[in-house]
């Protein structure tokens, strides 16, 4: 790749931010006007939500397991092994559930969206769609945005639940805690603010995954090599955005609900 002069490079980056903002703005605006492509929304919900279920269950479950296993060493020093449930549930609900789910879905679906739309772009199918009188943002981006935000919310709840269950399995089976003690500690430590914080994050992550995935797909150039590049960029950028936005939302929520 040729090295660009600094001014050209900066202009390109500013233009990319502008394009992304226009795409995201239009995708949101199209939610509130007709036609809405319900068939495509449900197809995407099935692909993003149901399709991601196995990886979300597996990653959530084993994260809960390993969290219980790791935390018990530190908790033993303070004689607070009974607080394992509290630590696992708080970590899962506030942080690991939303972020890990976001990252897993990003790896699977931002890549899928970028490659699918990228292939359509390089074979002129997106232009053909526009030429046939269909707005590709309305037809391709908005359904993916709605489906990702909606399904990521529920996937996060599932990841939280199986993570806590995984922690319970390790705590009871390997650490000798009773199930009632673990679950009681988990339940009582969670307050309203924790749940709100944990369930606000997937709304942002879903938005990032869909818009970044579609953005890189829609601006793909350069044939199959370009599709590969767009896919990689979509995963990298959406993953970084998810972690950055996670920090910002956490800080905001601490400001609203306290620690």
């Amino acid at each position: 790749m040729p090295l660009l002069p600094p001014d050209v490079f900066v202009k390109k980056q500013v233009a990319a931010v502008q394009e992304y903002s226009i795409l995201a703005g239009r995708a949101i605006a199209d939610i509130f006007s007709r036609p809405l492509y319900w068939d495509d929304i449900f197809t995407q919900m099935d692909s993003i939500g149901v399709g991601s279920l196995p990886i979300i269950i597996l990653s959530g479950f084993f994260t809960g397991c390993v969290l219980a296993l790791q935390s018990v060493t530190a908790l033993q020093e303070f004689g607070a092994v009974s607080k394992t449930g509290s630590l696992v549930s708080l970590s899962m609900v506030k942080e690991l559930g939303p972020v890990l789910t976001g990252l897993m879905v990003s790896g699977r679906n931002a890549a899928g969206m970028a490659s699918e739309l990228g292939s359509m772009k390089v074979t002129e199918q997106i232009d053909a769609m526009r030429a046939l009188g269909t707005d590709p943002i309305r037809k391709l981006v908005t359904p993916r945005l709605i489906a990702t935000v909606f399904m990521l919310f529920f996937l996060t709840i599932i990841a939280d639940a199986v993570g806590i269950a995984g922690g319970a399995l390790v705590s009871v089976g390997m650490l000798g805690l009773t199930a009632s003690s673990y679950l009681h500690s988990s339940y009582t430590s969670l307050v309203h603010g924790d749940i709100v914080q944990g369930l606000t994050k997937p709304l942002f992550s879903g938005f990032i995954i869909a818009t970044v995935g579609c953005f890189y797909g829609m601006r793909t150039t350069g044939g199959t090599q370009g599709v590969g590049r767009a896919t990689t960029q979509a995963v990298v950028v959406s993953s970084v955005f998810i972690i950055v936005v996670d920090f910002i939302v956490t800080r905001l929520m601490i400001g609203i609900f306290g620690s």
Partner: protein, 272 residues
């Protein structure tokens, strides 16, 4: 959106220029296409023919100049109005651009499904369009199961299904063998002579352009015939116009007769 009357050109370019990054693609292009006319865009590869077609359809926006389609300045149209305008335009893409996850029937019926035409009526119209391109047997196939020529024919069926007022053909014979190319040109001619649709045909193959100019479709015989040299139009279709581009600029525009007798040294060399 008002339909254009007979006096308004269907397509009108006035001083249109477009640049990609720092490379000028088209410079100060002005021409018009009247109702029922066929304009053939000729020129070497990379001279901006396909870009000109995409500008006509509003798929690209010019940096300067005005493009009017059916009398509407497309730069001033809202997004929704532009999509309504495109519903009156059919486009055949260079590489067909069929939706690879849809069957031939779904591809051809795409516009009808978007307009919520009842399924039974859509099917009848799809069969009719596929009969026009003599491909009704492939209705259930996927694009990947078709040859290049068949894909191009499906693309033509998809473009004509809604009886558009303007058809844009982007290198319809590009990459095809001579026999298949002749079949595709015959379909372009059939659409021109049977439906009298205004069309812009991009090609870099002179033989295709001159075949369009010197032949007409005979519905009774179901094939193309050369125009009689002793007829009123002296063997050349009067409705055909040519626009030759070279390095983003107009090198020639006019009738077939003018093109053949052009004194411009570059045009002469290009034709040879």
């Amino acid at each position: 959106m008002e339909p254009s009357n007979g006096a308004t050109p269907v397509v009108q370019f006035e001083g249109v220029s477009i640049t990609f990054d720092v490379k000028p693609i088209l410079h100060d292009i002005s021409f018009s296409v009247e109702r029922g006319q066929t304009l053939v865009l000729l020129g070497p590869a990379g001279c901006g023919k396909s870009v000109l077609l995409k500008l006509t359809n509003g798929l690209l926006r010019p940096d300067s100049g005005t493009i009017r389609v059916f009398g509407e300045d497309i730069a001033k149209l809202r997004r929704r109005e532009l999509y309504q305008l495109r519903a009156r335009i059919g486009m055949v893409f260079q590489e067909s651009a069929l939706f690879d996850s849809l069957t031939v029937e779904e591809n051809v019926a795409y516009r009808l499904h978007e307009e919520h035409v009842p399924e039974a009526e859509a099917h009848v119209r799809v069969v009719e369009a596929l009969k026009f391109v003599e491909l009704e047997a492939a209705i259930d196939k996927f694009p990947s199961e078709l040859s290049g020529g068949m894909r191009r024919r499906v693309s033509i069926a998809r473009a004509i299904i809604s009886n558009p007022d303007l058809i844009l053909y982007d290198s319809p014979t590009g990459g095809l063998d001579p026999i298949t190319s002749a079949t595709i040109i015959e379909l372009v001619m059939k659409q021109r002579d049977v439906s009298h649709t205004t069309s812009l045909v991009v090609t870099h193959r002179l033989q295709d352009a001159f075949m369009l100019a010197t032949h007409c479709y005979d519905p009774a015989a179901g094939g193309m015939n050369p125009l009689p040299k002793d007829g009123p139009d002296h063997g050349i279709d009067e409705g055909m116009k040519f626009l030759v581009l070279n390095e983003g600029k107009i090198a020639f525009q006019g009738t077939t007769e003018d093109l053949v007798h052009s004194d411009d040294p570059w045009v002469k060399r290009y034709l040879e």
